[in-house]
Amino acid sequence: MMKKRDLYTSQVKRAAHLLFFRRHRKPGVKGWELRKRLGSDYPKVLGILDSFLDKLDLQVKTVFEGETSKEKPSLEDYDKARFYVTLRGGLTPKETKMMGWRIDDIAGLAITISSIISKKGKASRSEVEKLLRDKLPGWRVELNLDRYIRSGYVAEDENRQLYLDWRTRAEIDESALVKLLLGTDG
């Protein structure tokens, strides 16, 4: 019979494979999928994986359904949540350039997300475009906004209202972004 320690080691490996390799259109794995593959103890397995990833400046990010965070999540909350591997620390502007993001694109994304947050999670596209036009050349405004929508940072409905989408919830610390913006001297 497999020892408990060996069992966890093999489960951590399997969890890493599930989280790193994209198997669906969107990255990440749903909690119920992990439960099916790793058993009901999967939150503990993810905790062990997270401590391994710490050394590589990576982390296991949990995005709960609906709310941004939960104080004491139940197993049902975990099952409905989506899990990703994200960077633990920050990036330098040089690194973002290697990833195909120019400083203009990043600034535009910061403006778009923070303006949607400040308007209680919903802002009209024209309002956001007006703000972006202040920082980006005119022809890039629409292109950039469409890129943010394609990447899953922002969603747009038929009334041209913008909302925060799945990637923002997975990758961005929204309250830190707003606090930093307000706390920086212009």
Partner: protein, 229 residues
């Protein structure tokens, strides 16, 4: 409050009137409490305050702030059994090259105009490359007009080859359309000048007119020989 005034309420009408007032007061307090609750959440931000902040901060500052709160997803894309099957099917259905070349036929299509977004969609232009080229051309125009207000259109778009001249004319048309420069036309002498703006200007759509500028090989040859004004 109720305890204080209750002994003075003699008539039922007084009682109803006062309790109605109390109910309205309570609803105001309730709305105020909701407002305070929302404002006290960590995500509450005054939209005007944030707009003002965004306007004051430079692109670099905004970018640096964003990087501090951005934790991008790490993932690996790999070939799946499904995509391998799809590739095999495609390869098997592919007609041999010599057969394909024989079947090549040309169909005549009507000429028309294409917008920049259509060209981007059809992958004729890469958005990143195009915007960078436009940025560079704008800088070049500003550099060439240092110490003077404007430059002759042909002196700016003219290049060593005709192809390059057409490309520069094409990009210049976008500089003018997007408000990075304007055209000044001397109709008597038929000379066109280009004037750059330090900041892009948005024009009143009603006052904007399209100016067709012809770029022919003859014009280019004349410009090269110094005959074209």
């Amino acid at each position: 409050m109720i305890r204080e005034y209750f002994p003075e309420w003699k008539l039922p009408e007084d009682l109803v009137l006062d309790s109605e007032t109390i109910q309205h007061l309570a609803s105001v307090i309730n709305m105020q409490s909701e407002w305070v609750k929302h404002r006290s959440t960590s995500l509450y931000t005054d939209p005007f305050l944030l707009d003002e902040k965004i306007r004051r901060l430079s692109r670099e500052q905004l970018g640096t702030i964003f990087l501090k709160s951005w934790r991008p997803i790490v993932e690996m894309e790999q070939i799946s059994p499904q995509s391998l099957m799809q590739a095999i099917r495609y390869w098997n259905d592919l007609i041999p090259l010599d057969e394909r070349w024989q079947r090549t036929e040309f169909t005549e299509t009507e000429t028309g105009t294409a917008t920049i977004s259509e060209l981007l969609e059809q992958k004729v232009l890469a958005d990143k490359m195009f915007s960078e080229e436009l940025d560079a051309l704008w800088r070049e125009l500003m550099q060439k007009t240092t110490g003077q207000e404007k430059i002759k259109y042909w002196d700016f778009i003219g290049a060593l080859t005709f192809d390059e001249t057409v490309r520069r004319a094409y990009l210049t048309s976008f500089l003018v359309t997007y408000g990075f420069a304007t055209m000044e036309i001397n109709r008597l002498e038929e000379i066109i000048f280009l004037k750059p703006f330090k900041k892009p200007i948005s024009f009143d759509k009603k006052l904007v007119a399209s100016v067709p500028v012809s770029i022919s090989f003859d014009d280019w040859t004349k410009w090269r020989e110094g005959q074209l004004e």
